[in-house]
């Protein structure tokens, strides 16, 4: 088993070498001409406006949080899937409960609007009124 992982490691090393080689070769072959404008942030040719560090919609963070929890649950499903054929009904019932929990979680975030990306102004108003 370790030998197979050693192959993966070898592949990883070869991959890294390949990337480095690419960069080095292109660095050696190219010419460089310094122009001020080239080194500015690209904003369609205009002078950049304001700061780059803009604030993002926190909804992205919510998605990442929910993803993480589902990810852990999926990892639990893998060993179950592998032994399912041998264990049969007990594993079946057990995983039914587990998947039910997943579904409850999904239903909860769905109903509460965490998966809703576009919201009409009226619903925002209703929420603010509450």
């Amino acid at each position: 088993m370790l030998f197979n992982f050693a192959n993966v490691l070898l592949f990883l090393v070869v991959g890294c070498l390949f990337v480095t080689l690419n960069l080095v070769v292109s660095r050696l072959l190219q010419t460089r001409l310094f122009t001020d404008e080239k080194y500015m942030p690209y904003e369609c040719g205009e002078d950049p406006i304001g700061d780059t560090r803009i604030k993002f919609n926190a909804r992205f963070y919510v998605i990442a949080l929910i993803f993480l929890i589902f990810d852990v649950e999926i990892v639990f499903l893998f060993p179950w899937g592998v032994v399912f054929r041998e264990i049969g009904v007990l594993a079946f019932v057990e995983m039914l409960i587990f998947i039910f929990m997943l579904l409850v979680g999904l239903a909860y975030i769905w109903v509460k609007g965490d998966l809703q990306w576009i919201r009409s102004i009226q619903s925002v108003r209703e929420e603010v009124e509450q």
Binding site: M1, L2, V62, L65, V82
Partner: protein, 172 residues
Amino acid sequence: MELNPQQLVFYLFALLTIGSAVVVVTIRNIVYAAFSLMVTLFSIAGLYVFLQADFLAATQVIVYVGGILVLILFGVMMTSGSLDLKLKLERGQLFWGGVVSLTIFGLLLSVITNTPQWENVDIGASQEPTTRKIGEMIMKEEYLLPFEIASILLLVALIGAALISRKEVRDE
């Protein structure tokens, strides 16, 4: 000391783990810290492979590198200002951090020394795949209840996380 290739790779991974962990705590730039945390977590997965824990190694990468660290990076990117924050260590943090990490280190040490025959692990020996074993242990009586409780815990975590973050979304 003679080193066979296996040991060489093992020490390489160990060095990578410790080195990048040191970088995580000392570096000032928060994104660099997150990046070297990725290296740490990844090389820990490499160490798991040496322990014949193949399932754990994959899980480590999927959950920690692919999940938790992405969450941390997102958190950093969401919080305006934190990207250019220079992290600094204060004296009080150094003290309490030291206390906590020494306690954890002591705990780990006691676990290691209390494990029978911990020094006689043959890293080259091939064993049966662990995924099947883990599956059997979860499904049979031994760990059945903890497993189901874990699912409830995850559900609670999901609802809690959604609840807290929803409040933040609304505040904006």
